[in-house]
């Protein structure tokens, strides 16, 4: 099989005869959905969305926030706090060891990164889960950082955006993790009371305790295409009901159909769409300046009103 990539590929990377599915390290990635081999720099420019089939690959919390926030000044919130091991939890491995392994692999202290920055000049706080850190599971640090993000929003009257990708509550912190569901939900209650918008973006996968708390509590719930979103995992459901699950079950499109989401948004349009939504919802606290209005594709209002608070 000779496809465009093989023709383009410099001979030194071309695999001779061997395993065709073998993707050389470094410059090339394979789309897990359509198997297309992709040129990594191009993939990165496209925010890790397959240019061929539109599959949204998982990305790290920092890649996410870097792509989402304006370049320039950003402040990481509650970056200094790190996980503890109050239960001295040990399964087949020690929790302590799992933590240091995850920290080494990701360069993160825990599974949530929160930053204050701006989106097309609108100041806001954005949070993103790191799935590679123990499945993006929510323990005390994730809860504390999320709440710190909310508190920043309350102090400075900012909107909040959170990109979830998580298997749920972190088992190794046991009931402390469960309580993070209550804690984050309560904090979002304060946002609601203060009239500050929270946009929840669910990305693949958003399950269990995270889905059943902060992720489903958006004033606006968005999701990336084909993300797995739900409370119980598909395998658990299959074992319980002893039926084969319907095609597309618990995917974004299924949730949209059943009324759980406002929109499915392509990652490459995320900035535009969220900016537009927040410009509308957060209008009492922020309005685009004149230059900004021109830059926005779909200016929601007469430019004459813009910039006047």
């Amino acid at each position: 099989m000779t496809n465009w990539f093989q023709r383009l590929m410099p001979s030194r990377i071309r695999t001779e005869g061997g395993n065709k599915h073998n993707v050389p390290e470094g410059l090339w990635d394979k789309c897990p959905a359509c198997q297309q081999v992709l040129y990594r720099p191009e993939l990165e420019r496209g925010l890790h969305v397959c240019p061929k089939c539109g599959h949204h690959m998982r990305i790290s919390a920092r890649t996410r926030l870097n792509a989402f926030l304006d370049e320039g000044e950003r402040e990481e919130i509650a970056a200094d706090i790190a996980p503890a091991d109050p239960l001295k939890f040990r399964d087949s491995k020690k929790y302590k060891d799992r933590l240091s392994q995850a920290q080494k692999a990701t360069g993160e202290k825990d599974a949530l990164v929160v930053m204050q920055g701006s989106l097309k000049q609108m100041p806001l706080v954005a949070a993103a889960f790191e799935f590679r850190f123990m499945g993006g599971s929510m323990g005390a640090v994730v809860g504390a950082r999320f709440v710190a993000g909310v508190e920043r929003c309350l102090e400075q009257q900012l909107p909040l955006v959170c990109f979830s990708t998580s298997g749920g509550a972190r088992m190794q912190e046991s009931l402390f993790s469960l309580m993070q569901m209550a804690k984050t939900s309560a904090a979002l209650g304060r946002m609601r009371k203060a009239g500050l918008p929270f946009i929840s973006v669910m990305t693949d996968p958003t399950m269990g305790g995270v889905s059943a708390s902060l992720a489903m509590l958006g004033d606006i719930n968005l999701a990336e295409p084909k993300a797995l979103i739900g409370f119980a995992g598909p395998r658990v459901i299959e074992q319980t009901v002893r039926e084969t699950l319907p095609e597309g079950f618990q995917r974004s499109e299924f949730l949209l159909e059943h009324g759980a989401l406002d929109q499915i948004v392509d990652r490459r349009e995320m900035r535009d769409r969220i900016h537009n939504l927040l410009s509308l919802l957060h209008h009492r606290h922020w309005q685009p300046g004149p230059a900004q209005t021109e830059a926005t594709m779909e200016a929601p209002r007469e430019s004459g009103e813009a910039g006047q608070d």
Partner: protein, 318 residues
């Protein structure tokens, strides 16, 4: 109803059977076996105490799931008067795994909400093994919001393996239903008292468990995941459930040491099912005491205190 015994209770079962036999013989003919019976009863007490003082977490899990353990409606019968059950979420259905209604506690009108398990096979199925679907949580939410409107304290009783993992439950928004309850409960302007009476299974339990005080019956459990679920994920084998039960710290004594539970309600020797009324009376005393204390706070102060309480959950390193 004849007493059902768990495996680790077999020595107790044998002694009790022997005592019954002797009592029968002694009542039948004139033989005086009273001394022997008294001796055995003493032995039984000691044996029972010895077993119950050294329960493993996994044995507590079995007690929490005991088929004869008092359920929410049993406690309601013992704790309250004038109970009126209220049904339905007004949108989809009446979930029988969640019960609720208005009642009086020591004369005071309150709202009562709890998971409900079934006793026999038919009832178990009708109650869906105590696993609510979204409509159950939405019924609870409806009743809690009503309680706030009518200035009634809310008492919840937690006893569920977890929220139901089913196709319809997912379609109707199980996650959203739970999340919504967590958020609304954190801001209700009436006292909320939560008691774990049996199994506190994860998000499905917490969805009626956000409040001003959390009580646990001595032999109940409260956990982020079932020991079996945890074992099959982390040990790759459900047979490691006893190990998971140990590590997860799901028993009332461990959770109270960790500060996640405010008070443990002692159960009669052998568990609440051996003397449900006694268990309920101990619980009632604690509930009344906490309720009086909470009612001294103004509604806003109560909500602020609850919020701070929630923020304090979790241990991190700085």
């Amino acid at each position: 109803m004849s007493q059902q015994f768990l495996e680790f209770e077999q020595p107790i079962a044998e002694l009790e059977a022997k005592i019954r036999e002797l009592q029968y013989v002694s009542s039948d003919n004139a033989m005086d076996l009273e001394d022997e019976i008294r001796r055995l009863q003493e032995k039984l007490q000691n044996k029972a105490r010895q077993i119950y003082e050294n329960l493993t977490p996994w044995q507590v899990v079995q007690l929490a799931r005991h088929p004869q353990r008092p359920y929410t409606l049993d406690y309601i019968q013992h704790l309250f008067t004038d109970f009126e059950e209220l049904h339905g979420d007004r949108n989809f259905a009446d979930d029988k795994a969640m019960v609720g209604g208005v009642a009086r506690l020591d004369g005071q009108p309150v709202m009562v909400i709890g998971h409900q398990k079934g006793r026999d096979t038919k009832e178990k199925i009708r109650r869906n093994f105590g696993m609510p679907r979204p409509e159950g949580y939405r019924k609870a939410l409806r009743l809690m919001s009503m309680a706030e409107r009518f200035h009634m304290p809310i008492l919840t009783f937690i006893d569920t393996p977890g929220a139901y993992p089913g196709i319809g439950a997912e379609e109707r928004g199980q996650s959203e239903a739970i999340a919504k309850n967590l958020q609304v409960m954190s801001g209700l302007k009436v006292p909320i008292l939560c008691t774990v009476i049996g199994e506190g299974g994860s998000g499905g339990a917490l969805a009626i468990g956000v409040g001003d005080v959390t009580l646990m019956m001595q032999y109940s459990t409260y956990s982020v995941i079932s020991p079996e679920g945890c074992a099959s994920i982390l040990w790759k084998s459900a047979e490691k459930a006893p190990d998971a039960a140990e590590t997860l710290a799901i028993t009332s004594d461990r959770l109270s040491q960790l500060g996640l539970v405010d008070e443990v309600i002692p159960e009669p020797l052998g568990g609440a099912h051996r003397a449900p009324e006694t268990a309920a009376q101990s619980l009632k005393q604690a509930l009344c005491r906490h309720l009086h204390r909470l009612q001294e706070h103004a509604p806003e102060a109560l909500v602020e205190q609850r919020y701070q309480r929630l923020l304090n959950y979790g241990v991190v390193k700085h």
